[in-house]
């Protein structure tokens, strides 16, 4: 029973990872790629780790998988924030379809 639940969680996680990687290939500019990739891949990997927790139960390895989840969450969100700010300061323009840019005044 536990094996089935863990397998379902891992499958869902890999589907989210697949969507994130399609987003990396298809979307047109750097900012949108970062949006798709960070959200989907982070939630996918958290789901895989949750599946590992269900497979091992409450034991040494299961608790270790639970510890990995908050570290992964904090790390990837902060890394995405730092990366998108660095991209703007590096001088990459927003894509052609964009409608609004309030940050331009704040930088100068």
């Amino acid at each position: 029973m536990n094996n089935m639940i863990s397998l379902i969680f891992i499958t869902i996680g890999i589907l989210f990872n697949l969507l994130g990687c399609i987003g990396i290939i298809r979307l047109p500019d750097t900012y949108n790629r970062l949006q798709a990739a960070t959200k989907c891949v982070t939630l996918g990997c958290c789901s895989i780790l949750f599946g590992v927790f269900f497979h091992f139960g409450i034991s040494n390895a299961g608790i270790k998988a639970l510890i990995a989840i908050p570290i992964l969450f904090l790390g990837s969100t902060v890394a995405a924030h730092a990366l998108i700010r660095g991209t703007y300061h590096f001088g990459i323009k927003l894509g052609e379809k964009s409608v609004k840019d309030d940050y331009k005044d704040a930088v100068q």
């Binding site: 969507l19 298809r26 969450f73 969100t77 998108i84 927003l94 309030d102």
Partner: protein, 161 residues
């Protein structure tokens, strides 16, 4: 007081990581937490008395449920935009004013916004958050402020302030 808090938190982290309740393990963990609390206490958050008030944990659990629901919604939203043949995107950077005061609350709000549908925090200057949005729904400042921060702000105010 802050030293004791950091010591207890790192000892709990050690015991969860090793997951063994033998005497040598606890002694080694206590020594390691002592070193950790001596080095890292001056970088830790300053007001630790709020950790002792139980109603904050209650609101934290409710916030966690809301957050996971928004997170799943975010992924389905991005999946729709990626798989649609015409790619309905309309990106832009908007400026949002927040009413939260303390630094930790602003950080938690920014991290939550990063994981919700189609938004990433670009920068934070004083009270204003600059947010990159994958589909700008409206040009009116009041409408999009409600759309972006409305779901989280009241819970975070109860958790931290």
């Amino acid at each position: 007081m802050r030293y004791i808090t950091v010591f207890i938190l790192s000892l709990i982290f050690w015991l969860l990581l090793t997951f063994k309740l033998t005497v040598p393990n606890i002694i080694v963990g206590a020594v390691a937490s002592l070193i950790c609390s001596l080095i890292f206490t001056r970088f830790f958050i300053s007001n630790v008395y709020k950790l002792l008030q139980p109603h904050r944990y209650f609101w934290f659990i409710i916030y966690l449920v809301v957050f996971i629901w928004e997170c799943i919604k975010a992924n389905l939203d991005v999946a729709y935009r990626v798989l649609h043949p015409a790619m309905p995107i309309r990106p832009g950077i908007v400026k949002v004013k927040t009413t939260l005061k303390s630094d930790l609350a602003k950080t938690l709000l920014a991290n939550s916004i990063t994981m919700t549908p189609g938004t990433i925090t670009v920068d934070i200057i004083d009270d204003y958050l600059y947010i990159h949005w994958i589909y700008v729904r409206s040009e009116d400042p009041e409408v999009y402020t409600g759309l972006i921060t409305g779901a989280f702000e009241k819970y975070i105010k109860r958790i931290i302030e």
